[in-house]
């Protein structure tokens, strides 16, 4: 529906524009032609008046000879009347028949002022252009009188009417041509849009996230739109896949503690309890609770707003138990205290579980970033493993009692704070933007990536 109405609107607009433009042009042409024709007529009338005036001065007798005033100029009948100083008709052209040109007020004014005048008048249903010129007081019957020259404007008006008609027809034809051109253009331009709409409806119907819209070859707006929409579909598919993977991983991970718990409960039902079994059951339940907590925390971490309280990392570091703390100066970040405490606790627990020897927690700042590091004396992780340990449900080779989400939570917390988490050997680091740089945190992160700091 929408493409059709869009097409219709474009056609109407284009036709109207062409029509208006041609009407303006036509009106201009009309004006010019009319002026030209009127001037030309006026020049003829004036020329004839001059001739008659000369005749009146040079051969007054000839003036009254019948037919002497009936010369056609340019094929156009010009009527002439010669009046004396009292307004009586001295001579007139035969073309007028018995009619008298209605110029009484005009000839008086002309005689009074002594200069010729033009006027429009009507005679017997005919539109006339009239020129009245004074005659010199040089003898003859018409001395001191006036000569009246008149010509019909009928032909002139007919010519102008023809011009109007031509302009109007041309305007309509041009508007129609414009409409057709726009219709064709719109049809070819809207066809890919129609295909896009069809493909999008198909995606909506099948719900298949792997489908893409057809991309037209042309690099026009529709082509760019299709590409942009496909990129959007790709991003949606990736995020949907990530969510689905997370759900699959989460349900997979829930099965592990559940398997032990259900098996032990079955045993309890068949054989009764013993202290070892009770301990196992408690362990299984705690493990399940821990996993549920971590899943919840991770989902919260990924949807929480940016943190906005001032947090002293050195204080958090000093609260860790069973570790050596190195935090000589106050280190403040904009953060979420509970989340940062949990992240540090996870790192410490990780070090205790997978590392060996002394565990050292260090808080400090350098080069515009704040670092919270946890280091033990074990071999740690390297290369690919150093990246993998921060993934979800990644556990060490010895498969300890953790949920497999501890380090993923650390990374999520660091990223929510505009920083990052990484491991080098047995040294695990949370790197956050310094308090004064917090507004530029993405830039800060980018700069440090460029410097090639280990990740």
């Amino acid at each position: 529906m929408i493409p059709r109405s869009l097409r219709l609107r474009a056609i109407v607009a284009a036709s109207l524009a062409v029509l208006v433009a041609l009407v303006i042009v036509g009106a201009g042409i009309d004006l010019l032609v009319a002026r030209h024709l009127h001037r030309s007529l006026d020049r003829s009338l004036r020329g004839r008046a001059v001739e008659v005036a000369q005749l009146s001065a040079s051969a007054p007798a000839l003036l009254t000879t019948p037919g002497s005033l009936d010369t056609a100029i340019g094929g156009e009948q010009v009527s002439v009347e010669v009046l004396d100083r009292r307004g009586r008709i001295v001579a007139r052209s035969l073309g007028l028949g018995g009619r008298v040109l209605p110029v009484q007020p005009l000839w008086r004014a002309v005689i009074t002022t002594g200069s010729g005048r033009y006027a429009a008048t009507r005679l017997g249903g005919d539109d006339l252009r009239v020129y009245v010129a004074p005659l010199a007081d040089a003898g003859g019957p018409a001395a001191g009188g006036a000569v009246v020259v008149a010509a019909s404007t009928h032909d002139l008006n007919a010519t102008l009417a023809d011009v109007h008609l031509v302009v109007l027809l041309a305007a309509l034809a041009a508007a129609a041509a414009g409409a057709v051109a726009v219709a064709l253009l719109m049809r070819s331009a809207l066809r890919p849009l129609g295909q896009l709409a069809g493909a999008a409806a198909e995606i909506e119907r099948t719900g298949d996230p792997a489908r893409r819209l057809p991309e037209p070859d042309a690099n026009d707006e529709v082509g760019r739109l299709a590409r942009t929409l496909n990129e959007m579909l790709g991003a949606l598919e990736r995020s949907r896949d990530a969510e689905r993977r997370f759900l699959a991983d989460a349900s997979h991970e829930l099965r592990t503690p559940l398997t032990a718990l259900i098996g032990n409960i079955d045993y309890l039902a068949r054989h009764g309890a013993d202290p070892g079994l009770v301990e196992e059951l408690e362990h299984d339940s705690r493990r399940l609770a821990r996993l549920a907590d971590d899943l919840l925390a991770l989902s919260r971490e990924e949807s929480s707003p940016p943190p906005d309280e001032d947090v002293r990392l050195d204080e958090i570091a000093r609260e860790s138990e069973g570790v050596d703390v190195v935090a000589p100066e106050p280190v403040t970040v904009r953060g979420d205290r509970a989340a940062l405490e949990r992240a540090l606790a996870n790192l410490v627990e990780n070090a205790h579980r997978h590392g060996r020897g002394r565990v050292v927690v260090e808080a400090g700042k350098a080069n515009g970033v704040v670092r919270l590091t946890v280091e033990d004396e074990g071999a740690g992780v390297t290369g690919e493993e150093a990246e993998q340990v921060f993934g979800r449900f990644q556990r060490g080779r010895d498969a300890g009692p953790g949920s497999g989400l501890g380090l993923a939570l650390v990374r999520a917390t660091a990223e929510r704070h505009g920083g990052r988490a990484y491991a080098e050997g047995s040294r695990f680091t949370i790197e956050l933007p310094d308090l004064r740089d917090v507004s530029e945190s993405p830039a800060t992160t980018a700069v440090h990536r460029e410097k090639g700091l280990p990740s």
């Binding site: 032990a260 259900i262 079955d266 079994l277």
Partner: protein, 230 residues
């Protein structure tokens, strides 16, 4: 303790190897199977599993798929490549059809999706143990026993046996490396440990020894029972 449920009469003990990387699940499986009368040993990774199977030839393998380093499916495949036919039950936390198919294709005999009820685990293990069709002819050295005909030959010479003697011989032949206790013999051959005195077992063992002739293949393990040996 004897294994409950329907297993062939001559099965006196089953050695099950549990391979599971998750400690609590491993302990739960050990506890559950032991309580049912299985002899259980357990390991936490694929490499140890292969070594343990090599060493102790278990009767049934309960194998987790998601093992670190050497995957459960790889363990399965290696065992089958070596021609080992022991029954394998794989445990998987993934229940997609593709995962189950992958397990069976790797050579597993059955699979169980975590979490599972212990009843089902035990029933499936028993089913696997029943599955192998018992051989019709049992042999030990130059002794050949025809299960269907209840007849025995030694060195090609037919030997006549009493019904109880034949049953006792079959029990010993079906558990070639194991010591059969007097109680087990009573339970399996006489049908009930209280049906006769342990002396009856000794009496029939000596009948059997006499019937089979020299050299004797039945060894008395002092204080425990009897087993076949050369």
């Amino acid at each position: 303790m004897l294994i409950k449920g329907r297993l062939p009469w001559y099965v006196v003990s089953v050695f099950a190897l549990v391979v599971e990387d998750d400690g609590p699940i491993r302990r739960m499986l050990e506890r559950t199977l032991t309580a049912e009368g299985y002899e259980v040993s357990s390991v936490g990774d694929g490499g140890s599993a292969l070594a343990a199977i090599e060493r102790s030839a278990p009767d049934v393998l309960v194998l987790d798929v998601g093992l670190p380093v050497i995957d459960g499916l790889v363990v399965c495949r290696r065992l089958r490549e070596k021609g080992l036919a022991l029954p394998i039950l794989v445990l998987t936390a993934r229940d997609a059809v593709a995962d189950r198919v992958a397990g069976l294709d790797a050579g597993a005999d059955d699979y169980l999706v975590k979490p599972f009820a212990s009843e089902e685990l035990l029933a499936r293990v028993r089913a696997l143990l029943r599955r192998g069709a018992p051989p019709e002819v049992l042999a030990f050295g130059d002794i050949v026993f025809d299960v269907e005909g209840r007849s025995v030959r030694r060195g090609g010479v037919e030997i006549a046996l009493r019904a109880r003697e034949a049953d006792l011989l079959e029990l010993l032949l079906r558990n070639p490396r194991r010591v059969i206790s007097r109680e087990q013999a009573l339970e399996r051959v006489w049908g009930d440990a209280a049906a006769a005195s342990p002396n009856a077992v000794d009496r029939y063992v000596s009948y059997l020894r006499r019937s089979l002739g020299e050299p004797s293949v039945i060894v008395t393990v002092r204080g425990v029972g009897f087993m076949l040996a050369r």
